[in-house]
Amino acid sequence: MSNWMEALKKEIPDHQIMTGIADRYSYSFDASFGEHLPDAAIQAKSKQEVVHIVKVANQFNIPIYPRGQGTCLSGGPLPVCGGIVLDLSQWPEQIDMNADDLTVQVSPSVLTARINEEAEKHGLMYAPDPSSAHVATIGGNLAENSGGPRGLKYGVTKDFVLGLELVTPEGEVIRTGGQTIKNVTGFDLTKLIVGSEGTLGVITEATLKLVPKPPAVQTIMVEFNDVRTAGKAISRTLTSGILPSKMEFMDQACIQAVENFKPSGLPVDAEAIVIIELDGHLETLNVETILVENIMLEIGAANVSIPATSEDAARIWHARKQVSPAIAKIKPTKVSEDATVPRSKIPDMMDRLHIIKEKYQVEVVVFGHAGDGNLHPNILCDKRDQEEMARVEQAVEEIFQAAIDLGGTLSGEHGIGTMKAPFMEQELGTVGLEMMKRIKDSWDPKGIMNPGKIFPEKGQKLVLRNG
């Protein structure tokens, strides 16, 4: 047995240490691409255990990769350089609600949707709602700075974090931020850690902000005969004194895929639809619904449907949820991107995507959170087809370039991980990236904390092919 394993066993129970081949392969992947066999997968169920594991890793120079439920779409928890996958998903759930302060303290293993469930019992809401919220842990959401449809009105994970407890790469425990909304004491390390993808340490506790839960919601579905009008409609709504909680976009390819998969009454002839959700008091919603309808008709929308009952509204959202399974029927492999552009540039981005699709002869469908410019172009392909995957790699590169050209960014909510690392310099510039790297190096001098993420190796390229 290696020395580091012996050292680990001193404080970690045997059943939390996995070294068999079946177990190691079970922690070799996430929801993105690639498979990397770790030397061990180890479960931590308390702060003390995390401290011990990190100290051992630091002492023996073993890379360590924090992991929640492995739903990451950018390769965050992949053990690309071997070493230890640190599974935090089995840490006993702890949710301490401070309703009067509108805050909640949570353990890293808590499923994100559970936080909102608890908050609702007190008339409050935890707004970030990534589509995987019922599966993903808050620890993973914090590491990746996850978003979701409600990001439009309420912001993303980082906008809801007041304080963190972190085990540093050297095994020390620090606390950042605090319990208050206002806090300007020193550098904002909290915001630095959120979205650092596990490269700066292991988050062991978070204090999150809650907001009052809106008493009612209203859904509106709008059809468009061209994407440009849809783009204009989004901007016009947002400049008319209305801030919907969600504005979700589906292009024609998505609509048709859903209707082929499970007919849900979506308009197959529409070039695009935008599904809007307003939230607030019922009286306000009644006023805003009419305003939105007028804006849409004035700007040239083909049709506006306002569901009369919550069941009808649920049907529309159910159809939106069918996008993933429906497009999986087109081809088995899904390369899901989250390049984000300024809202006014959505039509331009759609044009660029169309050109890319033609140029590389790949299947592209687009849906996403159009209200905040966060589109999800998905390329449907088959990873067994090496030639096709080569074209997909080129198409993805060009999607990133298009987003950057239009003043946008590589990633709105999925994170950089391994998949987007090669494009970092394009967006940040040499010095910009170098400054980030300096921060990383001073936090983690031995480079053991989630190596191989965010920062590209020299000459690193996007690879979606095996071998």
């Binding site: 996995m18 068999g20 081949i21 079946a22 177990d23 392969y25 079970s26 922690y27 070799s28 992947f29 996430d30 929801a31 997968a41 479960q43 439920q69 492995g70 739903t71 599974d87 089995q90 499923l111 995987s132 019922h134 599966v135 993903a136 993933s324 399974p325 999986a328 088995p332 492999t333 899904k334 088959d382 990873k383 067994r384």
Partner: protein, 432 residues
């Protein structure tokens, strides 16, 4: 074809690509919850199948994770990309079984059969008539129990305690095979008796017949019917299960019926998938499709029957533990609830997590006793929380497991477990 390619075909390697590893199955999987490892989750298992098919891991590596799978199929209901997990699981079980046959010693099987199973008088009484049971299930199913449990003690005593009193062989033999109806019938149905239902819960089967007759159905019980083959398929004996499917198709083709009715969620689930066992375009596939189109759970035909009412009030608080296979494979969810709501006096309190498996899962509770009990404890927590006096189920395995759970919790003086048909008959259904 190379060895790896043969393996890939058998293990359904191609189907593993439908899994995008999103992890949405994790919260639905009972064994991920109790065993706390990705290795024991649907996503983890599919990935391991892929690793074995790619030669990166061995068949032995796959054995334990697959053996620990309940096969409850809760993952298939939540899967956003419609992965055919059932087929991947069965392919993996078959590969594991083939691999084991080549290397296993036969002694252990005999040890079990002659050392533990035959000598148990209670078991033998339970199964009524041994010859009869063997004709139904085939000895392989039992042999399989023994080999799987070679390392673990069997907890047969625990099961003996909760098995109902058995009818005499004479009573069994006296059951009629055909009930002709003089008045117009709701429909003509063939009753699929099931082996465990008929062996262990004979009275419930009798009650099922009684219900069908009272509800105005004409009923036949084809004599040549046999085991549905679910247990065989779940233990990797695919050829045996195909053979049984063919025998059933033939047996039920001989009768002109509208429906083939069963009262065991697991058997029904097996039978609605018979067509997957045959190649499309073949005559067996066609015959299987015809057979499948007639399969109904008892609750489905009863809920559709007109003009019935319940004469007697059953003043009880009950909860309902749905059979996973009925929910996730047959997709029959509401008929049992609709029927219970019609019974006067019954106060139905639904479980917080009805779709969480009870841990019975075919013979899982025998071969993986400890794991099964961990799952059962979670289920009983939920059941006891409803304050019910009766747990209603629709499958013999679940019924046995619920009885076991009630014993384990020490609440047998305040709670019992019954099959849905027993409850319905208690309410004395009558035609208007």
């Amino acid at each position: 074809m190379g060895e790896l390619q043969t393996l890939q075909q058998k293990i359904n390697y191609d189907k593993t690509f439908d899994c995008v590893q999103c992890g949405y199955c994790l919260p639905a999987c009972p064994t991920y919850e109790t065993l706390e490892k990705e290795t024991h989750s649907p996503r983890g298992r599919i990935n391991l199948v892929k690793m074995v098919a790619e030669g990166k891991a061995s068949v032995e590596d796959l054995e334990k994770p697959m053996e620990k799978c309940l096969g409850c199929m809760a993952c298939t209901t939540v899967c956003p990309t419609n992965v055919q997990y059932g087929q991947i699981l069965e392919g993996a079980k078959e590969v594991i079984e083939d691999h084991r046959v080549k290397s296993a010693s036969r002694n252990r099987i005999e040890d079990f059969l002659f050392g533990s199973f035959f000598p148990s008088e209670k078991w033998m009484n339970t199964l009524g008539n041994l010859t009869w049971f063997y004709q139904r299930t085939g000895i392989q199913a039992l042999a399989n129990i023994s080999r799987l449990t070679k390392l673990a003690p069997l907890h047969l005593d625990k099961f003996e305690k909760v098995i109902p009193k058995q009818p005499s062989p004479k009573e069994r033999a006296q059951r009629m095979k055909r009930y002709i109806r003089k008045r117009p019938a709701q429909a003509k149905v063939a009753f699929f008796t099931g082996c465990v239902m008929d062996g262990v819960f004979f009275q419930t089967n009798q009650n099922t017949l009684e219900l069908l007759l009272r509800f105005g159905f004409e009923v036949v019980i084809p004599e040549q019917q046999t085991c549905c083959g679910a247990l065989h398929a779940h233990s990797g004996k695919v050829n045996d299960s195909i053979d049984l499917a063919k025998r059933n198709i033939v047996a039920f083709e001989e009768e002109e019926v509208d429906y083939i009715v069963n009262n065991a969620g697991g058997c029904g689930a097996r039978m609605v998938e018979y067509h997957h066992l045959f190649k499309e375009g073949t005559s067996w596939h066609k015959r299987a499709k015809q057979f499948v189109s007639k399969i109904r759970d008892i609750s489905e035909v009863l809920v559709e029957a007109d003009g019935m009412f319940f004469n007697k009030s059953v003043d009880k608080t009950v909860t309902y533990q749905p059979s996973c296979h009925m929910t996730n494979v047959q997709k029959v969810k509401t008929p049992p609830l609709q029927l219970m709501k019609k019974v006067p006096g019954v106060k139905l309190k639904e479980l917080a997590r009805p779709d969480f498996c009870c841990g019975s899962a075919g013979i899982y509770n025998i071969v993986n006793y400890e794991d099964s009990m961990d799952i059962l404890d979670l289920k009983m927590n939920d059941v006891c929380g409803t304050g019910s006096e009766s747990v209603v189920t629709t499958n013999p395995g679940c019924l046995l497991q619920m009885k076991l759970g009630i014993e384990r919790e020490g609440v047998s003086h305040t709670m019992n477990a019954v099959h849905l048909v027993d409850l319905l008959l208690e309410a004395d259904p009558q035609q208007q």
